[in-house]
């Protein structure tokens, strides 16, 4: 009764709780918030206080003094630090409600298709303890497909590959349900790690996660440029492992493509394995329509081309790949009655 009363005062939300970025969709308003999933916690005389959340906290990542820690509460698409995740969701709820008290919204959160029941329960409970009136879960590939505008309810197979920060979800969807889904824990974070280790190995330079991510966004490509070119060049700064002094090196797109070969091949393998497990009728539909890429990883240059060559199928990148999951979750929120089949709860 009381919860319902609070519900009237609250704006229902759909949250794409991603490893790298969290997007918040508010009913009737669209995507209102897109911030990195980073929380900065300050330790003041043994008590922990949230110092910053989102973009501000991301600036602190790797640059914190001893009493401050910038934490990414999600790893591989699931909650790694329960309390910090709860604080982050609480912060987003407050931000959406303009710091108004007594907000108790209905929240739809998306979860990786490969997450275990324990991981899903952790996500649901953290949203509940953050003040949600009710929490519903939606599987990420379904949300991505809805957000990309795929005809998911038709009796025709659609394949969606959502490359997020922590996981890559490959799913075949037909008649409003997931026919086959495969989740591999390879995503943007793994690409960053690959870049870091590549530069350390080849240039004896240790760079931070943020620098690696910047290089990935600016230069990252799934395959080397054609005709033996080096492609665009970028300088990257870090600490020299040999003499320990800060140093700057120039990296080319070819080098970064080489560095990313391993995570890209993992994604390619996940797609081919999913295709192998697709029922023949749906495989026939996918031959016609192809594969849709969503998520931040879809922005990697020439990834569609690599997948096209690996699978022999048309591969297209969805519009606004970064927002697909949030848009799909938001649509599930807007049309909750109609799309209730794709929503679930752990209780």
């Amino acid at each position: 009764m009381f919860a319902r009363l609070l519900g009237i005062m609250s704006a229902d939300m759909a949250i794409d709780l991603g490893t790298a970025n969290t997007l918040v969709y508010v009913k009737g308003r669209g995507i209102v918030l897109a911030e990195p999933s980073v929380v900065a916690i300050a330790d003041v005389r043994g008590k922990k206080h949230v110092l910053a959340v989102g973009e501000e906290a991301k600036q602190m990542l790797g640059r914190t003094p001893g009493n401050i820690s910038a934490i990414r509460p999600l790893r591989d698409g699931v909650i790694a630090d329960f309390e910090v995740a709860e604080e982050m969701i609480k912060h987003f709820i407050r931000k959406v409600h303009n710091r108004r008290r007594f907000a108790s919204p209905l929240i739809i959160v998306c979860v990786p298709s490969g997450s275990t029941a324990v991981e899903r329960r952790a996500i649901q409970e953290s949203a509940e303890s953050a003040g949600a009136r009710k929490v519903l879960l939606i599987e990420e590939p379904m949300a991505a497909a809805i957000g990309a505008g795929l005809p998911v309810t038709e009796p025709s197979g659609s394949m969606v590959v959502d490359i997020g920060g922590g996981t890559t979800e490959v799913a075949v969807i037909s008649l409003g349900g997931i026919v086959y889904a495969r989740s591999v824990r390879v995503g943007g974070d793994k690409m960053d790690e690959s870049i870091i280790s590549y530069i350390r190995r080849n240039h004896n330079l240790l760079i931070g996660e943020s620098s690696a991510e910047r290089i990935k966004i600016e230069l990252g490509a799934a395959s080397a440029p054609y005709h033996g070119e080096e492609g665009p060049l970028r300088e990257v700064k870090g600490r020299d492992l040999m003499n320990g002094v800060p140093r700057e090196v120039i990296v080319s797109q070819r080098q970064i493509a080489e560095a990313l070969a391993e995570p890209v091949s993992a994604i390619t393998e996940a797609v081919t394995v999913a295709l192998e497990n697709t029922p023949p009728e749906l495989a026939a539909d996918i031959v016609d329509k192809g594969i849709v890429l969503t998520g931040g990883g879809a922005l990697l240059h020439r990834l569609d081309q690599v997948l096209r060559e690996a699978t022999g199928l048309p591969v297209v990148v969805a519009e606004d790949p970064l927002q697909c999951v949030a848009l799909g979750t938001g649509r599930a929120l807007e049309e909750m009655k109609r799309l209730r089949n794709v929503l679930a709860t752990m209780y």
Binding site: K289, R308, A318
Partner: protein
């Protein structure tokens, strides 16, 4: 395949815009010197879809999301700005902007009685049940109850009366002057008689369960004559012919002789003997209610003469008992029930609301105030 598609009239959507975009793509492709087949081979997009894009036939594309994706891929491959072309495509082809209508397959609802009809039916049944209950429970005070019982008794009485008109008519006249005590003794004296008779194996089969001693006298007169004689003791030597004759010395013996002569059924013969008593009791007792009280009057055979709520002020004349039967009164409101004997009110039966059971309704007992003593089981006759 190509020829087949080109035969179809080009369906364009969004006016000339889509065709202009398609024409730009085609022009760029031709400028680069590529054929559709080459593009289809490198992009893995089916040739018919590429042709549909060039000709602006959006409906032939597998879906809006795919259509935009194909346009982006195709434009990118031809060196256009893919995002710009996709934006143009969206702007020019209105149909692409329609979100796909998601209609999830839902199971067909079970065909059953609709809930609304069930509720309506239930309400009707409930109303019907209430109406029925109201009709039958509320009708009791409405119907004329008082004349009903006397009529029923009257119908029972005259029937056996004709066969022995002489004794019945003569008996009251003779027994009227006599004290009520011997009159009430008659059924009692007759009652013990059948008990030993039933105990004797010889007499048991013909008597069955009939109570009257006169019946025994009627059927196996010689056999039973010595039998009933010993139990009554002093009464036995007076007359071995009939039991009924024994206790009433006032009644002439000739009248008691005729009953054995007509070998009738046991029942019709019964009334004549208690007749003197009933005649004496007739109309003597009046049951009156000072407050609403439930009363039941039944005879000792279990036949219920009255069972209802007497309203305040209502009265019910107690009919005379039939045969050996005694009338028993049960009242749910002893304080509200009053018994009048010969028009004279008697002491109260008990406190208001008290329940008294099986009070014997005989005029003398009531008059003596025995009922008021609160000993319902005690009768003046034992």
């Amino acid at each position: 395949m190509l020829a087949h598609i080109e035969d179809k009239p080009p369906e364009t959507f969004g006016g000339a815009g889509a065709t202009r975009l398609g024409a730009d793509l085609r022009a760029a492709r031709e400028r680069l010197g590529w054929t559709l087949e080459e593009i289809a081979g490198s992009l893995r997009i089916r040739q018919i879809y590429l042709l549909a894009i060039e000709e602006g036939r959006v409906r032939d594309l597998p879906g809006t999301a795919y259509a935009v994706g194909f346009v982006r891929t195709y434009a990118g491959a031809l060196g256009f700005d893919a995002d710009e072309l996709a934006r143009r495509f969206r702007a020019e082809v209105a149909e692409v902007n329609h979100r796909p209508n998601l209609r999830f397959p839902a199971p067909v609802p079970d065909r059953g009685v609709p809930a609304g009809a069930l509720v309506l039916l239930g309400a009707l049944v409930a109303i019907g049940a209430y109406a029925g209950w109201y009709r039958f429970s509320g009708s009791l005070p409405g119907e004329p109850p008082v004349p009903a019982v006397p009529e029923h008794l009257a119908a029972l009485l005259p029937a056996p009366a004709p066969p022995p008109p002489a004794p019945s008519s003569s008996a009251p006249s003779s027994s009227a002057p006599a004290s009520p005590a011997p009159a009430s003794l008659t059924p009692l004296a007759a009652a013990p008689a059948p008990l030993p008779a039933a105990a004797s194996p010889l007499a048991a089969p013909p008597t069955a369960a009939s109570t009257a001693g006169s019946a025994m006298a009627a059927t196996p007169a010689p056999a039973i004559a010595p039998q009933p004689a010993p139990p009554p003791g002093a009464a036995a030597p007076a007359g071995a012919t009939s039991m009924a004759a024994l206790p009433t010395p006032a009644t002439p013996t000739p009248t008691s002789v005729p009953p054995p002569a007509p070998p009738q059924a046991a029942a019709p013969v019964v009334p004549p003997t208690p007749d003197p008593a009933t005649a004496a009791d007739k109309g003597r007792i009046l049951l009156r209610a000072n407050a609403d009280s439930w009363v039941q009057v039944r005879d000792s055979h279990g036949q219920v003469l009255l069972s209802r709520v007497l309203r305040a002020g209502e009265s019910w004349p107690v009919p005379p008992p039939v045969g050996t039967a005694r009338l028993l009164l049960t009242t749910g409101n002893a304080g509200g029930t009053e018994l009048l004997v010969d028009g004279v009110s008697t002491p109260s039966l008990g406190k208001p609301g008290a329940v008294r059971r099986d009070l014997p309704l005989d005029a003398d007992g009531i008059k003596d105030g025995r009922l008021a003593q609160g000993t319902p089981g005690a009768t003046s006759l034992h």
